[in-house]
Symmetry: C2
């Protein structure tokens, strides 16, 4: 596991324990900066070793839960040494030969892997889990979405910065582009001055990854990604346009029947899911279903960005590969 000391890496360890994933042994790796630290796994203290190409010798599966640059430089080395790589970074997601997998949706794409498998972005995973069952019933034509993303989407530094700002009105912004406490920022990740689409990298991921996972290269996705002062749990306000007429009861049933999705939708009792409900769990929760036209449906979706949005999805990919010992 590369990035074993990061917030997603640590959660990967906990989820591997919880799911009692059968592993021969686990080798925690990290950048030189974090080498030497100790991580706990199944009641053992394991020393973190610097991730170098030779660290992958005799390893079957490598989780990359680290920075994109570490993944870019080292994932091919791991594949060359015979390992299957499950990568959480954005580096390889859009490469044609790399399956981009949410197991409940497109586990079949794993059959075509060439050693490298990518785990989608946290906001993408939550949204496509809600879109996939609706697409199967009604066909998707367009998705208009506003995500409201937690500070932990920027890793431990993001969580810490929000906590500092909440405690101190003068704590500066270094991880996020502005102070996040007491505000909402229509920027996740960076703008690219060389493009004229006006999108952030996070928004571009949401467009491109959704198309790839759902196998809909022409799908129109209109995203606005907003950072909100929440520690864990990404929310999304989604409106879809469909090819077939929408039936609200059928939409509800399709979502309820989809593995990994739970419908929490009882407006008469003001019941709907929020980030606080979903933090620490693996389900994607959906509520506030509203038909807004013959071919239109609005909904609210929340997921734990660190679990189903990252670590849990990566472990599910391992399980779907069927190569645990």
């Amino acid at each position: 596991m590369v990035g074993a000391t990061g917030v997603v890496g640590e959660l990967l360890l906990r989820i591997l324990e919880q799911r009692q994933t059968r592993l021969g042994r686990l080798r925690p790796l990290a950048s030189a900066r974090s080498a030497g630290q100790i991580v706990r796994f199944h009641d053992a203290d394991l020393q973190v070793v610097e991730a170098t190409p030779d660290a992958f010798v005799d390893i079957d599966v490598v989780f990359f839960a680290a920075t994109g640059s570490l993944s870019k430089s080292l994932a091919p080395a791991a594949v060359e040494r015979g390992a299957v790589v499950i990568d959480k970074s954005s580096t390889w997601r859009m490469a044609e030969h790399v399956p981009l997998v949410v197991p409940e949706i497109n586990a079949d794409a794993l059959e075509r892997h060439q050693g490298l498998i990518a785990c989608p972005n946290c906001s993408t995973i939550g949204m496509v889990m809600a879109l996939a069952p609706l697409h199967r019933v009604f066909g998707l034509r367009r998705v208009t979405v506003t995500t409201m993303q937690a500070a932990s989407g920027a890793g431990r530094n993001g969580i810490d910065e929000l906590a500092r700002q909440l405690a101190d009105p003068h704590a500066p912004a270094t991880v996020f582009p502005r102070r996040l406490a007491g505000d909402v920022l229509p920027q996740c990740d960076s703008f690219d001055a060389t493009r004229d689409d006006g999108l952030t990298a996070e928004e571009r991921k949401l467009v491109e990854e959704t198309r790839k996972i759902l196998g809909l290269p022409e799908l129109e996705v209109e995203p606005t990604c907003v950072r909100v002062p929440v520690a864990v749990g990404h929310s999304a306000s989604i409106t879809i346009e469909t090819t077939a007429p929408v039936d609200l009861a059928a939409a509800r049933q399709a979502l309820a029947d989809f593995a990994g999705v739970r419908v929490v939708d009882d407006p008469a009792h003001a019941n709907y899911p929020t980030a606080a409900n979903v933090a620490g769990t693996d389900e994607v929760l959906v509520g506030r279903l509203r038909q807004t036209g013959t071919h239109r449906l609005s909904l609210w979706q929340v997921a734990d960005n660190l679990r189903k949005g990252a670590a849990t999805n990566a472990v599910q990919i391992l399980e779907a590969l069927g190569i645990e010992r």
Copy 2:
């Protein structure tokens, strides 16, 4: 002024001072509970008197910045006694004989008033200020919007509850339906169990008031109103479908030329407006303009919900009436 001790009422006093609105005298009124309190206006201490029908004798203009029930019971009494009522509550907004006015957009509707004039909801005002100039150039067909609304939309109690929760992780929710600190809630105002549209009252206001102000009774509006842990400043992520093809430069120009709107949109330098930028100001700020199709445009809009979203707009209505002394 009815509701002179509330958060909007106090701000009305400050804005009347700042704009040097010519008033003969000002009589601060409130419910029996707040009567006897002192408010400060132009260096004078004024005692708040209980709002009763006879309190409106010899009064030219009454601001109602109080609860809907006070407005419902007392606004007609004020009109009967010859006053013009500018009402901030939702009570009269959709009544056919009541103009619903954002002066930059439909000041002409004031000519038809019969004593009662309504000020729109805070989230509506911000949004229609951005929509009106775009409608004039391209024609609006559909609006898909997610608002991210500040705690002060629920008045002083809302501000206080958020502050308590931020200081104390165990502070309960009484004003808002759940704990707001550390979460975002897809509920502003209440659900109506007698309707099957799944909308909150806030969302229904956004639909109906937008149609009335813009004079577009058939306009399709798909709203999701979200409460966020921000003290002041409502944000909105808006996507529109137009009748004429969109031209991004023309859209930018139309917004920049519209009185009361300012465009802050420079993605190359990560510049866009947020609630923190707009709190305490009267402008509606717009940024993150993106063309997403031949007839489609996304944008981000923020406004101070207490000022342009409430008090400033009410004072602008008074100014547009031209009946100050």
